[in-house]
Symmetry: C2
Subunit: 699 residues, 2 copies
């Protein structure tokens, strides 16, 4: 099969994936939507989500337009004086600038379309899942999971179609970098913005509702209750989807770029190595189509087990299909080993994450027990276990990196290509991972709707069972997301070197060089500062929303009596505007700082900078996600009746831990991946420009 | 002047410094010691401190003996097969193994002697300072500051005498590495152990005393009150002293090793460059002798300003003397610039630290204001500002590194030697820094004794003024300590490369090599995990002590009535044993992990490992110290009457922040420096052995 045929094959499966997503969309939409009361509440959520998405896409459009024009201009201008860089830019593709800009817009667009589909079905599925829960656990589960699968399948489909199309048309993997940067720009806004939105609403709703006026969670009298439910969708559905879309595309593009120099013993394979990442994506889609069929709950089955079964079965099918493909077309053995090594280690890291956040294990139980001594001890213990939890995952990532590298080298392929392929291997089953992830906020919302519209004890309890299943599955999917992101950025890092090598500038990032050291130190500082800006944004916006809620209660006493409807839209609007306004500084860090470092200190320092941001980025992402999960489950463990149960002193301390952990695990932690990806892509894309203009090369 | 004469000159000033320390010791000891009641209380503290020191030195003796014999054996054995490494070991010095072992024991011993002197005068000066406070602020201030100066002067004196003596006798700077490792071993036990001790007692005393039974701080009925006061001495006097002793020695030794290859244009200067770090230490001692005279408080003077004036004046005198020396003997201009660059940036970083922890600035006030929304928001805001505070300091460290490097290169000296000299420049005024630092816990204890023995309102108030001056000065001295440690470890990192180069193994730590990347990731994981182990040890031991205090109150009701004396020694013993037992795992990380990485993955991976540990080490040290200081001062700001003052909801939240920050700033944060130093020294010292035996070089 020719390389172009492989591209068409991948694109074809992308179309199937998208069609499958649309089929499930229609199916979910056909389900029973309940009576007017439920529909009214779900309507508020839909409306709030739509309002936020409109703002988000508006902001994105401006950003994309500005950056797109800038990209087109910079790469078309005749101002670059370094001969190689200039020639490279002129020779590579006649319309390189325009094409890159088109790819950029397309990348943001594909991610936006997939996110829109996923989100618009999620805010329909929550209601339908709650209504289906009247019939039983399984019907409700199916609605929620298939709605989640809409996002998973649409994402993967649009990504593969987009990448394949651009590569078919231009034949230049570096133009595809533009597509990836577009996806990253979307992820930066959607994930960080959504994360700020959801935690602003969550904290404000809890602090005034539960603590000050003593009404239960998800009570319709709380003006922030709709914002809180909208937040689940914009943060955990749209944001999460954009984040993983970003990693998925970046891993494929990085591996494609590395493929161009991968062949050591068999140069004839080069073209194949470039398209092979897309072939793997196609195989992953096939495996996912089958794997999704395994996610079913029997009459007394456990939904959490069903979700994890789906993941593991898909992994096995994928490994089988990849091996079969190897037998059929006989590609390099080292590459196959790298693919499978990535997959195996992702599952292992998932189990590590599970150990640190599972309430049947020592860390969570220890944090719960320590809560008896007050909130300070809860915080110290949780922070400590969060830091310790870094270790096994890092060992896993190091193991995967070395295994993939040396397996590839052993079979005559460049080791760094092996690392890139391991990342693609991990992410190949993305659609199943995303389906399970998006399932969580849908059933969480279903529970909220069931409570707000008084659907009765049995329905609420079923929704609760479905909800905790989402949390169980989260540990494994998070392990996947973080380890895949880590390998992806390592591959992107190598792609940066590759891009420089192509214009005749060898990258020398020896840590003994002072400019490299300076770059690493500055890069290592970015993830902690970036995450701090996001968490500060959450507290600042929560403060504003708390004022608004109090003002509504004061001005209209009927709200608390239940005779007057609160102004939900005001809270949604505070969360939306606050989230997007707070993104300016973080976005500047992501885009401007790498350019500034490159232009001032040179391309080697920028290499060090990327390295530094990866090291602390992975560490802070693991730390924040795991500490947050640990506190969350510590609180739930106490709520299940341990150490005095709800209302006890231990419970109060655990609530403090959970609140601290919220912006850690849902805002800052997952946004760090996007930050690093954006910084790496900006550096790679602008590498020729930086190389031509930098001051640092004169030092 | 010949190079040996310079060594004798440095040694001579070391002797003067030590003599000055002993003179001040005798002077402080001659001061009025008050009546039997005060003496009884001070006696408990002395006894407790002595008990802990006995245990600490016992443990140290065992560790030193075992490691010393091991070092002597390893370097004497004929088992190393790599030719260069073996020849190097055999050729370098006929009795290299024995000498290194002797140097190692001596390093631990010198640090121990200085620490013992400083501690034994501190536990006498607290009482005498309290008694002198009856006469006025100035007499009390003088007692406390001169007692602090005993530690500062003794440390610097013994360090310079020890280093000069070993170098005079062997002429091999790599043997002096053994001295430095001895000092580090001491620092690891004294600082981490002391940090665990002091926070265990502090948290336990507060949680049971203040919160559960409602007695004030420093109340003699609290069984943990003596342990708490002992903790101030073992953590903040002995531990702090050992920590800075360690940095001081390491910076000098690293610069000496780098001196051997520093000369580019004038090889005749090589010998001078090797001894020059000691010359700078001597100049720093001279400057300190003069600077100490400027630390005086007038009748209405401010003690905080007096301490900072001492630091700044000493810096200026040092810069003047160094310039004068340059004019007299005409050494390299680049080296002079590097020296002064280090000093200037250390002061600037001190002011940055001050900004983030000063209650007249935005961060502390913001955290205090946020405390009105409860402890979770206090924690999130403090963590965020702590993370942001990393940025200016890192920019400062990067600036100092680049300035020192390029200044040296511009004048024909190796840039990395410039970095080493900048670190020595920063640390040259160590005795003044340590004097101001040790002053803090002495006046803190004085306040405790004044309260416990009812010395009256005026005396307690004076002691309180002196105490808050200690906190003000701390910001600047902390800035010095962390930035000096950062430059020192960068120099040690270069020394590791130097040691390898000497045995014919070029260090190649390009971040594009997978083993280097693996090393960096593993190294970057060590500081967070290490600090988590220390904070977990604090909560675990505090838990045990809380049980003991409760048991004493239950068993002997007379204690709370004030008719029965609590068993202070039991609490001291719990803190001592707990602290030392908890050190086993952290010590293993510090010593065994770098050896394991080197032996398994090779010398390049070990280089990456050291780099990684420096990057996150500096970041976590800054983050933890500044966040801790921020919460501490946020609490004090509220206690000064803002946001509802003591007893308000905001105050309760701020207390939680302060408790979380305690092990951050006094246990984990400052111990990270020691961890990195130990790991770097172990790697450099054992580099020939690792190079000979490693598996990694075969990959």
């Amino acid at each position: 099969m020719s390389n172009n045929m492989w591209l068409v094959f991948a694109m074809g499966l992308g179309v199937v994936s998208l069609a499958y997503a649309l089929y499930l969309y229609a199916w979910v939409n056909r389900q029973e939507a309940g009576g007017p009361r439920e529909q009214a509440i779900a309507g508020y959520i839909q409306e709030g989500a739509r309002a936020y998405l409109a703002k988000l896409y508006g902001t994105l459009a401006v950003l994309v337009a500005v950056l797109g024009v800038l990209i087109a201009l910079i790469f078309s201008l005749d101002m670059l004086e370094t001969v190689q860089a200039r020639q490279f830019i002129l020779n590579a593709h006649p319309l390189r600038g325009v094409w890159t800009a088109v790819a950029f817009v397309l990348g943001a667009g594909c991610s936006g379309v997939a996110g829109y589909l996923g989100m618009s079905i999620a805010v329909r599925a929550n209601l339908r899942s709650a209504v289906a829960a009247k019939l039983g656990l399984n019907p409700a589960f199916r609605v929620a999971f298939y709605a989640g699968a809409v996002l998973g399948l649409a994402m993967v489909g649009t990504a593969v179609i987009g990448i394949s199309a651009i590569f078919l048309l231009t034949g230049d993997p570096e133009i595809v970098l533009g597509f990836s940067l577009g996806a990253s720009a979307m992820a930066l806004l959607a994930k960080a913005g959504g994360g700020i939105f959801t935690k602003t609403a969550d904290i404000a709703a809890d602090l005034v509702g539960k603590v000050e006026v003593g009404i239960p969670e998800d009570d319709p009298r709380n003006p922030a209750v709709i914002a809180d439910n909208v937040g689940d969708n914009v943060g955990d559905v749209a944001g999460m989807g954009a984040d993983i879309f970003d990693s998925y595309v970046a891993s494929a593009v990085a591996a494609m770029i590395l493929g161009a120099t991968a062949a050591r013993t068999d140069p004839g394979q080069t073209g194949f190595y470039v398209v092979f990442p897309l072939v793997l994506c196609a195989v992953g889609m096939l495996a996912s189509f089958i794997g999704i069929q395994f996610v079913r709950v029997g009459r007394n089955g456990k939904p959490g087990a069903a979700l994890n079964r789906g993941t593991v079965v898909t992994c096995i099918i994928f490994a089988g299909l990849a091996t079969l493909l190897k037998l059929l077309i006989g590609f390099n053995t080292g590459v196959l080993i790298a693919t499978i090594a990535g997959l195996v280690i992702a599952v292992l890291i998932g189990f590590c994450t599970d150990y640190f956040t599972n309430d049947e294990r020592r860390p969570v139980q220890q944090v719960a027990a320590m809560s008896k001594s007050g909130s300070a001890i809860t915080i110290i213990t949780g922070l400590s276990y969060g830091l310790i939890s870094i270790l096994p995952s890092i060992i896993g990532i190091v193991g995967a990196t070395l295994a993939a590298y040396f397996a590839a080298e052993a079979f005559g392929v460049s080791g760094i290509y092996g690392i890139g392929i391991a990342a693609v291997g991990m992410l190949s089953i993305t659609s199943v991972i995303v389906s399970a992830d998006a399932y969580g906020p849908i059933v969480d919302n279903a529970k909220g709707i069931a409570e707000m519209s008084d659907m009765g004890h049995e329905v609420v309890e079923r929704c609760d069972t479905l909800d905790s299943a989402g949390n169980t599955a989260k540990a494994i999917t998070k392990g996947f997301a973080i380890s895949a992101a880590a390998l992806t950025v390592l591959a992107l890092f190598a792609a940066y070197a590759e891009v420089l090598a192509a214009i005749g500038i060898p990258l020398d990032i020896d840590l003994q060089k002072p400019l490299v050291l300076a770059g690493v130190l500055l890069g290592a500082t970015c993830p902690p500062v970036f995450s701090a800006l996001l968490t500060l944004a959450v507290t600042k916006n929560a403060f504003l929303m708390i004022e608004e809620i109090r003002a509504q209660f004061r001005a209209r006493p009927g709200i608390l009596k239940g005779t007057e409807r609160p102004d939900y839209a005001r809270c949604v609007s505070i969360a939306s505007s606050g989230a997007l306004a707070s993104l300016i500084l973080p976005a500047v860090i992501a885009v401007i700082v790498p350019l500034a470092v490159g232009l001032l200190l040179g391309t080697d320092a920028l290499g060090g900078f990327l390295g530094g941001s990866i090291f602390t980025g992975v560490i802070f992402a693991l730390f924040m996600s795991n500490a947050g999960g640990l506190w969350d489950n510590g609180k739930k463990y106490i709520e299940a009746g341990h150490h005095g149960g709800p209302g006890s002193e231990a419970h109060k301390a655990a609530v403090v831990g959970d609140t601290v952990g919220d912006p850690f695990k849902d805002t800052a932690g997952p946004s760090i991946n996007t930050l690093i990806t954006v910084m790496s892509l900006v550096s790679s894309l602008f590498a020729p420009v930086i190389a031509a203009l930098t001051l640092g090369n004169f030092l």
